[in-house]
């Protein structure tokens, strides 16, 4: 019975009421009204009005704070309930959390990796306007080279105003000496503008001046420590190859690992010129050239301008063009010749997808398990509703459970990530430290991912469970639609398909790596020692050889100017021969070898003879490989001539069997071998397989006594070879890890599901047992639906796996075939795995006492 009287102005009154709904509400509202009216009387209506609004609006901040505090209590309550619920279903909660933890840990690590890969070279000033010049040369087809001619950089800057800076780099190995210490290290020749384009820091020295004097050298910290120990290197003089003095003008700070640059020690381009490098000549490419464009310039416009720049320059080949490569793309672009080792954009994409996929699967598992539990929770839900819980409260409660599980999962995920970090570093070839996991942005990012995961994964079960009608529960109706068997089946099939594809994939990768590593390379790779040789010591080479050969364990000695596997010393197409089609431009690789090369390496000669020891006699001789012979189409090659340019004729004295002088990533190209034992940088020694360590120390002794001050740097060729397939091993490792991951997560999902299904059919099983089924019959019965699912998964994934792996294998000119038996083996393996997973539940269900089962409510 409300008196309809002139009440308070509604709006402010409403605000006031909402702000302070408490146990003293009545007094509060009443007091306000009382004072309102008294003011209205004493002063005026307007004043009272004003007072009321004042009270209302000034109360808002405090009111909000109050509401938060009060609701905090309510949240604490929900929290307690959620934790209690989670603890009540320990098994399921554990599965859920474990699944999420694994998925999240995985994504975290992958995202770390992806983030790192994408960050390469972005710490340089003005990296967006920095480009590397790529050369395009036409032989039969156009090839792309990362190296360019020496004068290119400076001429580009001179001719094009848009080019504000240029810098060149070229790697080499220098022998550096100080007092009585000596080192031989990787060194880069570069221009003084180096520090303007690249954000490399100096620990000592001034970047603006360090390279201005042509006789400068900047050491790495390791080099400085080796040569100078505790002395300050800056200002001191070091000697190169015991002949040239350079002044140390700085020491490099450690360079960050997310850059494509590999520099080592730095010295000047002028010194390179002094040593005979083609700094000012157009007829040789050997420099990485970088330029910087003016801010705001369109690279495409510049590209058009410079494309034909080399046309009127005296370069080696006829058709040579250049274009710009943005610096940030360098690391992720592969396939350019003579490039530094790069990553690959495909990997980045693949792994990002995998990260998301894994997280996705974990979330789906989560959703799956939660909805599968609904029959157990249904009673609880029904009861709550009957007692008066509102739908929104139930939703909040279930969401809470999910989010809390997600957060717990996240903490485990972080722990997992830290634990797996060393393994991951090994797999990925990176060097992440634990600190990286603690960075604020990352943690904030993850927390949002986690909350999102919890909310999304939890939303479905939350809404589903809370909308459940109590009546249905008591009638025993089981779920349909998304909660139904159809959805779950799809999920399991999906997860297992992915697992199967990964299993097959990793097996194929493994067999390809095996194949590559064991394929006959055309030379004998066992016990072949390679030693870095300083060509200046050539005079004593014969002495060395005689000394070494006197020991029976050392079978053969030879030398060459580059390793058989790092390929070749120069390559171009300026070769012609009798019957060559003048329009053809064929790229020949070439190497310079020493005496008894073929004998030591065990390469077969097909026709003709090897080089004799007489250098002068053999100065115009050449030995070609089988591919070269076939390409040239010569009938009796021995005695025929091969001409370089239009001037020099070389006599073909022999034809060698093809051998792999590059990694198995490339086909065997035509090869020309010239005689130049006085041009060697590698010495080879064929050792007998026993006691190689003793033999090596003997060699070392001879070496150091004959070449005092030279470091004895050696390796076995089969070790060096396996280094070429680092990438493949990597991928293999990574795929294998994902395979394990996928299997674990799939099994987790399967486990939960089988438990649920066994539970669902408890009554049915009880009845069957009573009617006389044996345990084994029941086990078969329970397992039947799962078998169907696994078979489906297999059928789906086999063709997919085949297509994917064939595609990958096609990238290799030398590859193994995909063994179809692999597929069957995988199928059976997956069957076994899944049955073990289901096994526990099905056996337990089958052995249950029928009395218990039938009593089961």
């Amino acid at each position: 019975m409300k008196n309809k009287r002139e009440g308070l102005p509604g709006f402010p009154a409403w605000i006031l009421r909402k702000l302070n709904s408490s146990l003293l509400q009545e007094g509060y509202s009443g007091d306000i009204e009382e004072e309102y009216y008294s003011i209205k009387e004493v002063r005026s209506q307007w004043y009272a009005w004003f007072w009321l609004y004042f009270q209302a609006f000034r109360s808002i901040p405090g009111g909000i704070r109050n509401m938060l505090m009060k609701n905090a209590v309510m949240f604490r309550n929900y929290f307690k309930i959620a934790v209690r619920n989670i603890w009540k279903q320990k098994g399921y909660s554990f599965l859920n959390i474990a699944g999420l933890a694994i998925g999240m840990a995985c994504s975290i690590l992958i995202l770390l990796w992806v983030n790192h890969e994408l960050s390469y070279d972005k710490f340089h000033h003005n990296y967006k306007n920095t480009y590397r010049i790529i050369q395009h040369i036409k032989y039969d087809e156009v090839v792309n080279w990362a190296i360019t001619q020496g004068p290119l950089g400076p001429s580009l800057k001179e001719e094009f105003p848009e080019v504000t800076e240029f810098v060149r780099t070229r790697g080499t190995r220098l022998n550096i000496g100080y007092k009585d210490r000596e080192i031989t290290e990787f060194t880069t020749y570069t221009d003084p503008s180096f520090f303007r384009l690249f954000n490399i820091k100096l620990k000592k020295g001034d970047p603006d001046a360090a390279l201005s004097n042509p006789n400068s050298i900047i050491l790495t910290q390791e080099a400085a420590a080796a040569l100078f120990r505790d002395e300050d290197p800056v200002g001191k003089t070091v000697t190169i190859s015991e002949e040239k003095d350079l002044k140390v003008t700085g020491v490099l700070e450690d360079i960050p690992d997310n850059t494509h640059l590999q520099i080592g020690i730095l010295t000047t381009m002028q010194y390179a010129l002094e040593r005979g490098n083609s700094v000012n000549r157009w007829n040789n490419s050997g420099f990485y050239t970088y330029i910087q464009l003016q801010e705001g310039t369109d690279p495409e416009v510049v590209n058009l301008k410079i494309y034909d720049f080399l046309d009127n320059k005296p370069t080696v080949e006829d058709w040579e063009k250049i274009s710009l490569q943005p610096m940030e793309d360098i690391h992720l672009t592969s396939g350019i010749g003579y490039d530094v080792p790069t990553g690959s954009k495909q990997f980045v994409i693949i792994f990002s997808i995998i990260a998301l996929l894994v997280l996705f699967i974990a979330c789906i598992n989560f959703m799956n398990l939660s909805t599968a539990r609904f029959s157990a929770r249904a009673k609880e839900v029904a009861l709550r509703k009957v007692v008066g819980a509102e739908k929104i409260q139930l939703i909040i409660q279930f969401l809470n459970e999910s989010v809390i599980q997600a957060i717990i999962g996240f903490s485990f995920a972080m722990v997992l990530a830290v634990l797996l970090l060393p393994l991951f570093n090994e797999l990925s070839g990176k060097n992440f430290s634990m600190q990286i996991l603690y960075q604020r942005e990352i943690i904030v990012g993850y927390l949002s991912v986690v909350t999102l995961t919890g909310l999304i994964s939890g939303s479905y079960p939350a809404f589903f469970l809370s909308s459940f009608k109590p009546a249905n529960m008591f009638k025993g109706i089981s779920g349909s639609g998304l909660a139904g068997a159809g959805f779950r089946k799809t999920l399991v099939v999906f997860q297992f398909s992915i697992s199967i594809i990964l299993i097959i994939g990793s097996m194929v990768i493994y067999s390809q790596v095996e194949y590559i590593q064991n394929r006959d390379l055309g030379f004998d790779r066992n016990d072949l020692l390679c030693i870095n040789f300083n060509n200046d010591n050539f005079g004593k080479f014969e002495t060395l050889k005689n000394e070494l050969l006197s020991k029976p364990e050392i079978i053969d000695i030879t030398s060459s100017s580059s390793l058989p596997t790092s390929g070749f010393v120069f390559s171009n197409s300026r070769w012609s021969w009798e019957g060559k089609d003048p329009d053809d431009a064929i790229l020949f690789r070439a190497n310079v070898i020493g005496h008894e090369y073929f004998k030591t390496l065990g390469i077969k000669m097909l026709e003709g003879r090897d080089f004799t020891a007489d250098i002068s006699k053999e100065s115009l001789s050449v030995i070609i490989n089988k591919t070269a012979l076939e390409l040239m189409g010569l009938q009796d090659p021995i005695g025929k001539k091969v001409t370089y340019g239009n001037s020099t004729d070389y006599n073909i004295i022999g034809v060698a069997e093809n051998f792999h002088f590059r990694s198995l990533h490339s086909e065997i190209e035509p090869l020309l071998l010239f005689y130049g034992p006085d041009n060697s940088s590698i010495v080879y020694a064929r050792l007998s397989p026993e006691n190689t360590t003793n033999t090596i120390s003997y060699i070392e002794k001879s070496w150091t006594s004959l070449f005092p001050g030279e470091t004895f740097n050696y390796g076995f060729i089969d070790e060096l070879l396996s280094g070429q397939y680092y990438n493949e091993e990597h991928i293999g490792n990574i795929v294998r890890s994902f395979m394990l991951l996928a299997i674990i997560i799939s099994c987790l999902g399967l486990f939960g599901l089988s438990a649920y299904m066994a539970e669902q059919r408890t009554k049915e099983i009880g009845i069957r047992k009573v009617l006389g089924s044996s345990i084994s019959e029941i086990i078969v019965l329970i397992s039947k639906p799962f078998s169907k699912w696994i078979i489906t998964a297999n059928l789906i994934s086999w063709p997919l796996a085949y297509i994917i792996m064939s595609g990958w294998l096609n990238g290799y000119p030398y590859r193994t075939a995909i063994d179809l038996r692999l597929f069957f083996i995988t199928g059976i393996a997956v069957f076994i795995i899944s049955f073990i997973t289901i096994g526990y539940q099905s056996v337990r269900a089958a052995r249950k006492d029928p009395v218990e089962s039938l009593r089961y409510e």
Binding site: L24, Y28, S29, G30
Partner: protein, 111 residues
């Protein structure tokens, strides 16, 4: 026994002084008299609720009157614990402010 906040203390003293006649409006006026400050009802009632929860103050319903739109007044009486809390607070104050008078303030910052 937890310390009283400034505003809780002020309210408690008002309730004590009003002995029996303390409800929202009177408390507000009393405080304005004592301290020349006008508190919002919201602020008062938040602290009143705290005091009731802490047990320093007991609430008592009065009669509904038309001027309050039919709502009852809620009277507040100080309880034994509340009384003790006030005494405690007074003693603390005294020891903290002990010996300080207006003359001390005339002497300035250095004491």
């Amino acid at each position: 026994m937890k310390d009283l906040t400034k505003i809780e203390e002020t309210i408690l003293i008002s309730i004590w002084r009003l002995s029996g006649d303390a409800y929202g409006v009177t408390i507000k006026n009393q405080i304005r008299e004592m301290t020349n400050r006008d508190y919002l009802y919201n602020t008062l009632y938040t602290s009143l609720e705290q005091l009731v929860k802490k047990g320093y103050v007991k609430k008592r319903f009065g009669d509904p009157t038309p001027t309050r739109g039919g709502k009852r007044k809620i009277f507040f009486d100080i309880s034994e614990e509340g009384f003790k809390a006030l005494k405690d607070s007074f003693e603390k104050q005294r020891s903290v402010w002990g010996g300080i008078s207006e003359k001390t303030f005339e002497k300035g910052i250095i004491k």
